[in-house]
Symmetry: C2
Subunit: 676 residues, 2 copies
């Protein structure tokens, strides 16, 4: 076999981008709507792109500093190149995704009003698919080309994941602060004080709120998934590179091949969703998301058998498995585990628990808070059990490489998972546009149905993202340990009763709380500014509440943008600098402990915050559907308080946790050669 | 030196009990007040003692099962005896403390109305001192006698801490559920719905609320501290017993000698507080709490030098320290660390952060929640830094024995720390009684001042309890590792990259979230029952709100009692059974991982919940003092929501975390010989 097969992943990636371009052309051909709709759509689009531009300016400076440091460190120019490639690939994916999503939202609203549900679903889902395909394709192009160019030099390639994780950090944290300061600010004054409905055009914060949905859930989420996707591949490459076996090269290339298969399966899945879109949106998306991993898992069996030839050691039903079969089972385990975590998340954010939270609203906001916090805490138990099972099974099959490949299995079909994730904010935006443009109530009904479906898929997506991030981080940590050990020539012993390891564990546990606190405070502070601005406009602009004057929405967009950019720096600096400080300052043992403590606490806090937030959100929606008295009751007001607290939980601090542990892990892996 | 010195700790313990008896006689000689006051006092006293009786019935059954299992297991009868001794000592301390506190509260109120602030402070502080001295004395009597009888058989003695921890588990969890279901229930209906002030005699839940303060903050807190106090001593004994050095016996006996010194220092501290009580309450208590550890630390230097004779290895300022000096420095480090953690807690629950929370009330309850959660998260960072420093310094000085002896250093002056802790609820109750008995407003002013001081000391006490519990648990975990290693003959290797250890870490991290969720839910459910009952009484008892009829307070006491007892079982069973299930089911490596993960997450969650809760509470009080518009404003209502959520945080779920990790650690240590 010549080395030319190494070119397959980037070529498939380019193909994926062409499919995305095709979908974009389809989307753009849908009618944009009348002047009023267009104007609102343009405001959102412009607000989003302005934010992206400013964010990327900050990001470039930060990334440049990191790249220069890496370049002049003993890590050298190949690693610096990889960091640049990773940062660029992720940024481009985010940019294209945002650009397309903010073109699709207005067309979804218009399609809902002009052609009905089926065509609205198509536009919204297509809009999301572009982001999904970009993430999958650019990951393959970037990482695949790098692998080809550096001929599999595992260590330099790690820089790619580091570049991606820096982008993710800023997009998630900055995007999270943006979206929630706008949302909390607009809701608190608009709904509770002025008594006007959500997305009412009179509310000065409403454009910022809609921009925020894109900034947080499209760009932020996309970069998060991109980072786990590449991180898990890089971890597998790194672990495999330290193995002294005949299949070493095959096992190093395997994650890229699986991701290539995943991209093809995702494209097939997207076609399937489209084909079923005349049935219910819920059903067609469910069929698509189930079909893609099934196709992927089946095809993976053959690909793994081509790349890995040795015999394994596991005995199952009296037969010794081949190494390929062991790896395949780890892939299946990861894929199934991802679905299981998603379904558990769906239960906690959409079933009995939300009714319980809604009912507790009858005794006021305090009991809504207590019940929601308790649901959130409980909701970590089963996903953790899934992770434990995945870790146990995959390591029994094929050691720590198994954890990495399980993560790759979970993330390979990222094209469709991310498409369905990104569909949510597009549909949500479409609803907002319909409301702002005063479209008829039938249009709102269609967008509401699409939006509701989007909320569930977003919740599942979040659970999935946390599970994937946890496994990816664990694999990266394992790669870190191998890397330090092979550098030292003796194993890095991370013994729990070594005080230095313990100190690291405590440091690692405290950092997520610090970051969560900083991001929560950032949302609180920015929302406070926003609230004061909205109150000021209601007071000072004559005729605004009566609908006779226009609000100054640009001012609110500015507040959210500058707050997000200002406040994302500190968490970013902490996350990136903690590993070198601890690793070079105290030692590799402390850094290993820090990663373990950080992993545990980040996963727990991420699940807790995401699920509590999702449950509060849906409890409020449950009441708004007319249960327990419906809108306007005290029970509803109590639920709105829960939802408002849940906003930064689920969309700012919670998602920051995924990134935090991945950034810390990948930075540690990259600096491993510098640790004595 | 004959073995007769081994009798000193229990003899000093008996002496301490006599001092407590003397103080009790002083308290009981203060006038109880008029009929109305007496009746209220009796209701609280009876409610508290009824709860204790019922709780101890449940507890006996549970403890009996554990004792029988231990007796018939290979652990044998000495361990079973030790478990019994530990459970009995802790229960007796709790019983005496509760009995005296509920005699002191009514006398404090009467003293405030008849003789003024100085004498009210005396009674309240004396009431708390009885609990403090009982904890310190019964620990010395129980553990000291056992050490004497079993001639230092380290392994059997471990059972003592296990017995104590089972009592602590039930007292803290049961007490926490009781106190907060009553508090939340009474507040939500009374203050918010009926618009009557706190502790108003028309509120049917008011007696249960006042009983709850004793059940949670006297009996619960006492058993918690008792457990850490004995746990840290037991851990030192266990670690020292595995050392093969000449000073082995001296180092095993050292914790008991330090605790004896601590008891004497505490008695001196109590005398000092009394001597200064004609100055301000704040000042006199501060002088006492600072004087006691100073006396202790100075005296400890001489005692350690008598028991430990070898040379150490640490070089400080060019001199090689003796082992005694090393140990003494670890004690100093623990003692100073405890004070530092207390002061940090005081900052977060009484300084700028509470003003920030209060101000966020201007934009409603949601921002109060967001700010409070963020303050709570941030507040973990510095205490964790203190713990890291203590761990680092003490292990550098004298390995893991150092962590244990630092914990002993922190906890030795438990007599006065606990006295000041227990003073709070006595003063709080006195305020409640003054309100219910319609005493003049000057009396309320005195009790309010005492109560406010009590809130601060309680917050400091909580921070201190968490720090102490963390160190004690860590020392017990270290003892567990030594114990399994010496049983196996090869070291128990808890490597972080061993998947089995990792699985344990995840299990250990998930359990605290599960227990926190169960206890939060329990409070929510019980409060819901309470709310419905109070609403029913307001509706169905004619003339109640007008003050012409009496509420059925006993019914509310019953609801809180049965809810607490019913709901404390599940967390208890989980905490006690998790170590044998994981240890025997998966292995000692998984159990070691579980303890590490559990320790990290329990400490973080305990700090987070205790400090967030304390900060919300004091933010509300800050507004009630007239800031930001004072009582009756929307800002105040928003702050009340924060306080209500904070109640189960700081008094139920948070404190459960301390116990949880200590129970899991000590059960693991006790079953260590059973693990292969």
């Amino acid at each position: 076999m010549s080395d030319s097969y190494l070119a397959i992943p980037p070529i498939l990636g380019v193909l994926g981008l062409f499919v995305a371009l095709g979908i974009y052309l389809v989307v753009i051909n849908f009618p944009e709507g009348d002047e009023k709709v267009k104007k609102i759509g343009d405001q959102i689009h412009l607000g989003a792109m302005t934010f992206m531009k400013k964010e990327y300016t900050y990001l470039s400076i930060f990334a440049l500093v990191v790249i220069v440091l890496v370049y002049f460190s003993p890590l050298g120019e190949d690693t610096a190149l990889a960091v640049l490639a990773g940062a660029l690939s992720s940024s481009i994916a985010g940019w294209i995704g945002m650009y397309s999503a903010t073109k699709a939202n207005v067309r979804t609203a218009t399609a809902a009003s002009q052609s009905g549900a089926e065509s609205a679903l198509s536009v919204a889902f297509y809009g999301g698919s572009i982001m999904g395909l970009c993430v999958a394709s650019l990951g393959l192009i970037g990482l695949g080309s790098l692998y080809y160019i550096l001929s599999g030099d595992a260590h330099s390639i790690e820089g790619f994941a580091m570049g991606a994780s820096i982008v993710a950090l800023f997009s998630r944290v900055g995007g999270g602060i943006y979206t929630k300061s706008a949302d909390v600010g607009a809701d608190l004054v608009g709904k509770l004080e002025a008594g006007i409905p959500e997305d009412d055009p009179r509310n000065p914060g409403v454009i910022a709120d809609n921009v925020g949905d894109n900034v947080g859930d499209i760009a932020g989420m996309g970069s998060d998934i991109f980072e786990s996707y590449c991180g898990s591949m890089v971890a597998c490459i790194a672990i495999a590179s330290t193995l002294a076996i005949a299949d070493r090269e095959g096992m190093m290339f395997l994650p890229l091949s699986l991701a290539s298969l995943g991209l093809i399966s995702s494209i097939l899945g997207i076609i399937i969703v489209r084909a079923f879109s005349n049935s219910s949106p819920a059903l067609s998306m469910r069929i698509g998301t189930i079909a893609a991993p099934i196709i992927f898992v089946a095809a993976a069996y053959f690909v793994i058998n081509i790349l890995v030839k040795e015999m394994g050691t596991t005995v199952l039903f009296g037969t010794v498995l081949s190494k390929a079969q062991e790896i395949w089972l780890a892939v299946v385990c990861g894929s199934a585990g991802g679905i299981a975590i998603g379904l558990i998340t769906e239960y906690y954010t959409g079933s009995k628990p939300i009714v319980k939270i809604a009912e507790s609203g009858q005794t006021g906001p305090a009991t809504v808070m207590i019940t929601g916090l308790s649901v959130g805490m409980q909701s970590v138990v089963l996903p953790i059990a899934c992770l434990i099972l995945i870790i146990y099974i995959s390591t029994q099959l094929t050691d720590l490489y198994g954890v990495g490949i399980a993560a790759v299995g979970m993330l390979s079909t990222v094209g469709i998972t991310m498409a369905i994730d990104a569909y949510g904010p597009v549909a949500d935006n479409a609803g907002g546009i319909a409301e702002m443009a005063d479209m008829p109530s039938e249009t709102r009904e269609i967008t509401d149905e699409l939006d509701e479906q989007g909320n569930t898929t977003a919740a599942i997506g979040k659970g999935f993202a946390i599970g994937a991030a946890a496994l990816a981080a664990l694999a990266i940590i394992a790669a870190f340990v191998s890397s330090v050990s092979s550098k030292r020539g003796v194993p890095l012993e991370l013994m729990l009763d070594n005080p230095i390891v313990l100190i690291g564990i405590f440091i690692g546990g405290a950092i997520p709380f610090l970051i969560a606190s900083i991001t929560m405070t950032a949302v609180g502070d920015a929302a406070f500014e926003m609230i004061n601005e909205i109150r000021r406009q209601f007071k000072e602009i004559p005729g605004l509440l009566e609908g006779n004057a226009e609000p100054d929405t640009a001012k609110c967009v500015d507040i959210a943008t500058s707050a997000a950019l200002k406040k994302m720096l500190l968490p970013g600096v902490i996350a990136v600098s903690a590993p070198p400080l601890v690793g070079l300052g105290i030692g590799a043992e402390a850094l290993g402990g820090m990663l373990a403590g950080g992993l545990l606490v980040c996963v727990l806090m991420a699940l807790f915050m995401a699920n509590a937030g999702g449950a509060w959100d849906n409890a409020k929606k449950y009441i708004e559907k007319g249960n327990l008295g419906g809108k306007g009751t005290d029970t509803h007001s109590a639920a709105v308080v829960g939802d408002t607290v849940g906003d930064p939980f689920k969309d700012t601090s919670g998602p920051s946790m995924n990134i935090l542990i991945n950034v810390m892990a990948i930075v540690s892996l990259v600096i491993a050669p510098l640790l004595s």
